[in-house]
C-alpha cells in the first residue's frame, strides 16, 4: 500500500506555560483538539500562537504543564521522536536536494522499507499535483509549488498531527485563496488533524473547523468560526475577527435570556449572553448598522464625517456623541454627502453584548 493515509490523533494541552527568562510567551493554556479536525491558532503577532505550535512540534519545550498527543504524554519528547510534521512559513525545503529527495527525506528516518520510499514519495507528490516535478530543485519551482512540496513532504510521513506555520504568508493574494482551499480539501479527504497558525482572520474563518484566538499569551476565545464572528466573547475578539464598533451601554433588565439595552436614546432587545443588568459593552459590525434619516425614532443622532464610495458598497464614518462609528452600507444609489445630519440605526440581529 503506497497511498497516503491518516493516523490522525488528538492533541491536548493541560495548563501549559512557556517562559523565556522572565518573559511568558504562553501562559497556562489548556486546549483540546479532536482528531481529524482543522484547528486554527489566530492572533496578532507576539500573542504566543507560534510558540504554542512549536510546543506541539517539540521544537520548544513547555516550562510547565502537560502536552498529550493521541492520549500519550509527549511533554519531554524532542521533535525527532514525536509523530508530528510541520510545514514552515519559509517552506524550509532543503536547497541541495531535489523535490523528490526532499519528500523522501523524512521517510528515510521513519523505518519505511527502502524499496517503498520512492513510491510513497511519488504518491505524496501526486496528491499535491506535482507528479512530474520530482527531479527539479526547489529553486526551480514557483512559490506555490514549493509550498505544495513542503506539504507533500510532511504528508508522506502520515503524522498524527500536521502543523502549518503561517503557510500562505509568502504567497500572493490570488494564490493564497487557491492554496488554502487545497489544504482544506486534503485535510478533509484524508481526515487529518491539522493545527494551523495564522494572523489573517479571513484565512482562519475560511479553513477552520475551530478557531482558537490568542492574545497576550492566553486564549481569548475558542470556538467555531460562526461563534467567533457572531458571538465574540470580548472586545478584543470582536475587533480582531472582522471589524467592530464597540459601544458602552447600559443593561436595564434581563428576562428570559433577553436583555433590554439602552444606548443613549436607543433601546435594543438582545440575547443577554449571561450578562446581568448594569454597565456593559455592545459590539456591532459595520454592516449591521444602518444610516437612517435624521431624527428617525430609536436612532443615535449624528453627522456624516467621511463618506467613501467603493463601488460595491459605501463606507461612512459618522460622528456621534458616542464616538465615531464606522458603517458599511449596501445602498450605493443614495450616497450621503459629508456633514449630512443622519440617524444611526442598529440591525435587529447582529449587535452583541460583551462583558464590560
Amino acid at each position: 500500500m503506497n497511498e497516503i493515509r491518516s493516523n490522525a490523533a488528538s492533541v491536548k494541552f493541560e495548563n501549559v506555560t512557556k517562559r523565556y527568562g522572565s518573559f511568558t510567551a504562553v501562559n497556562n493554556v489548556s486546549l483540546d483538539i479532536e482528531a481529524g479536525k482543522l484547528v486554527t491558532l489566530l492572533g496578532p503577532s507576539g500573542c504566543g500562537k507560534t510558540t504554542t505550535l512549536r510546543m506541539i512540534a517539540g521544537l520548544e519545550m513547555a516550562s510547565e504543564g502537560k502536552i498529550l498527543i493521541g492520549g500519550k504524554d509527549v511533554t519531554r519528547l524532542p521533535a525527532t521522536d514525536r509523530d508530528v510534521s510541520m510545514v514552515f512559513q519559509s517552506y524550509a525545503l532543503f536547497p541541495h536536494m531535489t523535490v523528490m529527495e526532499n519528500v523522501e527525506y523524512g521517510l528515510r528516518f521513519s523505518g519505511v522499507p527502502k524499496k517503498d520510499i520512492p513510491q510513497k514519495a511519488q504518491a505524496g507528490l501526486d496528491l499535491v499535483g506535482l507528479a512530474n516535478f520530482g527531479h527539479r530543485l526547489p529553486s526551480e519551482l514557483s512559490g506555490g509549488q514549493q509550498q505544495r512540496v513542503a506539504v507533500a513532504r510532511a504528508l508522506v510521513l502520515e503524522p498524527q498531527v500536521l502543523l502549518f506555520d503561517e503557510p500562505l504568508s509568502n504567497l500572493d493574494a490570488k494564490l493564497r485563496r487557491h492554496v488554502r482551499e487545497e489544504i482544506r480539501e486534503i485535510q478533509q479527504n484524508l481526515g487529518l488533524t491539522v493545527v494551523y497558525v495564522t494572523h489573517d482572520q479571513e484565512e482562519a474563518l475560511a479553513v477552520s473547523d475551530r478557531i482558537v484566538v490568542m492574545n497576550n499569551a492566553v486564549i481569548a476565545q475558542d470556538g467555531t468560526p460562526r461563534d467567533l464572528y457572531e458571538a465574540p466573547a470580548n472586545a478584543f475578539v470582536a475587533d480582531f475577527i472582522g471589524e467592530a464598533n464597540i459601544f458602552d451601554c447600559e443593561i436595564e433588565a434581563v428576562s428570559g435570556g433577553i436583555a433590554t439595552v439602552t444606548l443613549g436614546p436607543v433601546t435594543l432587545k438582545l440575547p443577554a449572553r449571561g450578562q446581568s443588568p448594569g454597565k456593559a459593552k455592545l459590539a456591532a459590525r459595520p454592516r449591521r448598522i444602518e444610516v437612517a434619516k435624521a431624527r428617525t425614532p430609536n436612532t443615535l443622532p449624528g453627522k456624516i464625517a467621511k463618506s467613501t464610495y467603493v463601488g460595491s458598497h459605501a463606507e461612512y464614518v459618522v460622528s456621534t456623541d458616542r464616538g465615531e462609528i464606522f458603517i458599511i452600507s449596501q445602498d450605493v444609489d443614495h450616497v450621503h454627502a459629508p456633514d449630512t445630519e443622519v440617524g444611526v440605526a442598529f440591525a435587529r440581529s447582529g449587535p452583541v453584548l460583551i462583558g464590560a
Partner: protein, 754 residues
C-alpha cells in the same frame, strides 16, 4: 508511525564507547611508542607482553602499573545497564558517575605520578615511596579517556541536558575537553612555571619582581639608554595599529568611493598576507635597506652617505609590519566603508551638506567601530609577530623574540619565558577583550546586500587626490618589495654579485635520478614534504573541530554557552610564541609527552587555527535559515542526521574555505612552530629562519618564493572550485549561493597571532 526504540540489550551508543574503552584498555599499547604507531612495528616487538608495547590489561596482569587496574572495574560497570532503557534514572546516573570517575582517575594518576615516583611530597607521606614511574600516554590511554568522556556525555544527555540530545552534548563535551587539554592546560602550566625560582621552589615574590623588572618596563630610551621590552612591544604595536588602520582606510576609500576602476586588483592585495610567511617581508626590507641593500647602496653611491644599520630596529620593523598587516586592515575596513548606508549620506546631501561635510560628519563617524576594530587587529598582529622581529629586530627587543631567546638561548630560563609570555598575553587579551565587549561584532554584519538602493557619494576632490597619491605610493612599494623577493632569489649574492642564477633553487629543490628512481636531493625537500604532510593532516581536523564548534555556537542553546564561546575564541588572542612556550613546558614530560613528534605540530596547528574554522562556520551557518534544521527534526531526523544531511552539504563552500585557510596558515606559521620543530620534523618556515641566521639569504628567499607560489596555486584552485560551483546553478539561486560562498572574507580578517 515512527518506530519506537526498543530497550533490548545495551544502548548502541553506550556499547560503541564501551567497546572503544576496552580496546584502549586491553588491546592497544597504553603508553606512547618510540616508533610511529601507524607503522605497526609494535606488533612484532613482543606485543602484548613486552612492557614497552603492552596494553594496560597485560601490564596489570603482570603485576605492573597497578594504578591502572581501576579502569577495568569502571569499564565493567556500564554492563549493568544491559536491558535498561534510556529514561531509566540509573542509566544516566551510572554513566555520569563512571565517566566522571574515569576521567578524574585518569588525570590523577597522570599528574600524580611523575618521572620519579610520586610527583608531590604529600603522596609520598600518604602512600610511601613509589618505585615505579610514569611514561607518556599512548593511543590506548587516549581511547580509554575518550570513552569515559563520551560516556559521561551520554549520561548527561540521558538526564535531560540540552533536550536530551546525545550528539550535541557529546560535541560540547569533546570541544571543551580538547580545548581544555590543549589550550588551557598548557597555558595554565606555563603560568605556574612563571612562579618557579631558579632553585625550583614556587615563589610569588620572585614572580612579582620579575614581572615588574626594569628589563620589561624601563623608560630608558627617553634618557639615552634602552627601553623595556614590554614598552618596546607596546609602542611598536600602537604605531603599527594606527598606521595600518589609516592606510587600510585609504585603500578602502580608494576602492569603493572614488570610481577607481581597478578595485578588484586592490582586493587581490588582501590575499598577500595570507600567503606570505610572516618574516618574508622583513627579509625583503633587509635586501632593500640593509647594510648591503639595494637602496642603501644606491643612496650611498649617489649622495655619498655612509651606509648604516638604521633599518635594524624600530624603523625596519615598522615598515615591515605595516607592509604585512595593512591588507588585513583594508579587508576589515572595506566591509565597513561599504556598510555605511548610502541613504544616510544621500540624506546628508539633501540636507545641504557638501561632500566634505558629509564625509566628515556622517560617513567617518559611522565607520568609527570599524576603525577601532582594524586598530585592534593591527595591534594584536604586531604584538604577536615573531618572524619580522627575529630577522629585523636588531637591538630593539620585543616580547615575542625575547620569549624565544629565553627558551632556546644561553639563558634557558623557562620561568623568564613564562613571565614574558604572561605580559604578552596580558596585552593581546586586553585588546581582544576590548574588541569583543566594547565593539561587539557589529562592523562585520552591516552588509545586508539589499534594501538600500542608494549610491555612495564621491569623496571631495582634494581628498581623492591625496588618497590616490598615498595609496599609489604604498601599492607601488608593496609591488616593489615582492619583486625584490623574487629578484633576490635569482641573483648569486645580493649586494655583491648580481649575476642571475638558479643556484639557490637548485640547491634547495633539485631532483636527482638514481637507480632507485627519482631522488629529491635538494636540501629543502625534507622540510618541504614534512610541512605539506603536517599541513595536510591538520587542515581537515582544524576544519572539523571549527565547524562543530560553530554549529554549537550558532544553532544550540545550552548553559554556559557564553563561557564556551569565549573559551573557544580565546586562542585567537594567544600569540603563537605563547602557545609554543606553553606546549614546550606542558608536553615535555609525562603524562602527555609529545615534544619532538609530529603530533605536537599537528596539535598546535589545530588549536591555533581553530578560530579560522569557527569563523568560517559561523559566517556561513548564520546564512542558513534555522527552519531548515527544524523541519529536518520534525521530519524525524535526529540532530546528528540533520547536521550530516542538511547542514554539512550546505556548508560545502565554508568547509573548503576552512580547509584551505588552515592548510595555508599551517604552511606559513612560524611563531609557535619554532619551539616545537625537531630534527625529524623540521618545517619550511623554521628551516628558512635557520638559513637567515646563517646569512644564506639566497636560499631563504628562494624557498620563500616557492612557498608563496605553492600557496597561490592552492588558493587559486579553491577559488576555481568554489566559483565553478556557482556557475553550475541556475540564476534564481545564485543570490542565495553567493551569500553562502562569500565566507572567504570573514575568514581572513582576524588571523590572530602570526
Amino acid at each position: 508511525m515512527r518506530a519506537a526504540n526498543s530497550p533490548t540489550g545495551l544502548h548502541p551508543t553506550v556499547l560503541l564507547w564501551l567497546a572503544v574503552g576496552w580496546i584502549g584498555y586491553a588491546v592497544l599499547p597504553w603508553y606512547g611508542l618510540d616508533d610511529n604507531f601507524f607503522l605497526l612495528g609494535w606488533l612484532t616487538d613482543g606485543y602484548p607482553l613486552n612492557d614497552d608495547v603492552a596494553p594496560a590489561l597485560f601490564l596489570n596482569l603482570q603485576g605492573q602499573k597497578l594504578w591502572l587496574a581501576p579502569f577495568a572495574i569502571l569499564l565493567a560497570l556500564p554492563l549493568l545497564l544491559y536491558g535498561r532503557p534510556k529514561n531509566d534514572p540509573l542509566f544516566g546516573k551510572l554513566l555520569m558517575i563512571v565517566g566522571a570517575l574515569g576521567m578524574a582517575w585518569f588525570f590523577m594518576q597522570g599528574f600524580g605520578i611523575g618521572l620519579r615516583g610520586w610527583r608531590f611530597e604529600w603522596l609520598n607521606l600518604l602512600f610511601g615511596k613509589l618505585d615505579d614511574r610514569q611514561f607518556g600516554m599512548g593511543y590506548g590511554a587516549l581511547l580509554t579517556v575518550t570513552a569515559f568522556l563520551f560516556m559521561f556525555c551520554i549520561g548527561l544527555a540521558a538526564r535531560g541536558a540540552v533536550g536530551g540530545d546525545v550528539f550535541v552534548v557529546s560535541s560540547i563535551g569533546f570541544v571543551i575537553g580538547t580545548v581544555g587539554v590543549f589550550i588551557f592546560m598548557p597555558v595554565l602550566q606555563m603560568l605556574a612555571n612563571a612562579l618557579i625560582t631558579p632553585e625550583g621552589n614556587y615563589s610569588l615574590g620572585s614572580f612579582i619582581s620579575k614581572i615588574f623588572s626594569e628589563r620589561l618596563w624601563s623608560l630608558g630610551c627617553f634618557t639615552g639608554t634602552r627601553c623595556g621590552v614590554a614598552l618596546n612591544s607596546l609602542f611598536l604595536a600602537i604605531l603599527v595599529g594606527v598606521l595600518t588602520t589609516l592606510l587600510g582606510l585609504v585603500f578602502a576609500l580608494v576602492a569603493t568611493r572614488t570610481g577607481f576602476k581597478y578595485g578588484k586588483l586592490l582586493r587581490a592585495l588582501t590575499v598577500l598576507p595570507i600567503i606570505t610567511p610572516p618574516f618574508v617581508i622583513g627579509l625583503a626590507i633587509i635586501l632593500l635597506f640593509g647594510l648591503s641593500g639595494a637602496v642603501t647602496q644606491f643612496v650611498s653611491g649617489v649622495f655619498g652617505i655612509q651606509p648604516t644599520r638604521w633599518v635594524y630596529g624600530l624603523p625596519g620593523l615598522l615598515i615591515a609590519q605595516i607592509l604585512a598587516f595593512t591588507p588585513i586592515a583594508f579587508l576589515v575596513l572595506i566591509g565597513v566603508v561599504e556598510g555605511v548606508s548610502p541613504s544616510m549620506e544621500e540624506a546628508s546631501q539633501t540636507l545641504r551638506a557638501n561632500r566634505w561635510q558629509t564625509f566628515w560628519n556622517v560617513s567617518l563617524p559611522l565607520m568609527r567601530p570599524g576603525l577601532a576594530n582594524a586598530f585592534l587587529l593591527g595591534f594584536i598582529e604586531s604584538m604577536a609577530d615573531f618572524g619580522n622581529p627575529l630577522v629585523l629586530g636588531g637591538n630593539f627587543d620585543v616580547l615575542s623574540t625575547e620569549i624565544f631567546f629565553a627558551i632556546v638561548g644561553a639563558q634557558n630560563d623557562p620561568a623568564q619565558a613564562a613571565v614574558l609570555a604572561i605580559v604578552l598575553l596580558f596585552f593581546t587579551l586586553g585588546a581582544f577583550y576590548a574588541q569583543r565587549f566594547w565593539l561587539g561584532r557589529k562592523s562585520y554584519t552591516t552588509m545586508s546586500g539589499k534594501g538600500d538602493a542608494g549610491v555612495h557619494p564621491r569623496l571631495p576632490a582634494a581628498l581623492e587626490k591625496i588618497l590616490f597619491i598615498v595609496a599609489g605610493f604604498w601599492a607601488l612599494f608593496t609591488v616593489f618589495v615582492y619583486a625584490t623577493i623574487f629578484y633576490g632569489s635569482v641573483v648569486t649574492r645580493w649586494g655583491i654579485d648580481h649575476s642571475l642564477t638558479l643556484d639557490h633553487y637548485v640547491k634547495s629543490f633539485s631532483i636527482g635520478r638514481t637507480e632507485h628512481g627519482i631522488h629529491f636531493s635538494g636540501a629543502a625537500w625534507s622540510s618541504f614534504w614534512t610541512t605539506i604532510e603536517i599541513a595536510l593532516i591538520s587542515a581537515p581536523l582544524t576544519a572539523a573541530i571549527g565547524l562543530i564548534t560553530a554549529y554549537l555556537l550558532v544553532r544550540q542553546h545550552f548553559k554556559g554557552k557564553e563561557a564556551f564561546e569565549f573559551g573557544t575564541m580565546l586562542s585567537f588572542a594567544i600569540p603563537g610564541t605563547v602557545i609554543g612556550v606553553a606546549y614546550v613546558i606542558a608536553f615535555n614530560v609525562p603524562p602527555i609527552e609529545l615534544t619532538g613528534t609530529g603530533i605536537i605540530l599537528v596539535l598546535s596547528f589545530i588549536f591555533r587555527n581553530m578560530p579560522v574554522g569557527v569563523r568560517a562556520g559561523i559566517a556561513s551557518m548564520s546564512q542558513i535559515d534555522k527552519s531548515l534544521d527544524e523541519s529536518s527534526l520534525t521530519l524525524g531526523a535526529n540532530s546528528w542526521q540533520t547536521f550530516r544531511k542538511v547542514i554539512l552539504p550546505l556548508l560545502r563552500p565554508a568547509i573548503l574555505a576552512a580547509l584551505v585557510y588552515s592548510f595555508v596558515r599551517a604552511m606559513t606559521a612560524i611563531s609557535a612552530i619554532i619551539f616545537l620543530v625537531s630534527a625529524r620534523y623540521d618545517m619550511s618556515t623554521s628551516y628558512i629562519v635557520g638559513r637567515v641566521e646563517n646569512n644564506e639569504y639566497g636560499i631563504a628567499i628562494a624557498y620563500s618564493t616557492v612557498l608563496i607560489v605553492v600557496m597561490l596555486i592552492v588558493i587559486g584552485l579553491m577559488q576555481l572550485i568554489v566559483g565553478s560551483r556557482r556557475i553550475g546553478r541556475r540564476g534564481v539561486e545564485s543570490d542565495q549561493m553567493q551569500s553562502r560562498t562569500n565566507v572567504s572574507s570573514p575568514v581572513v580578517q582576524p588571523s590572530g597571532a602570526g
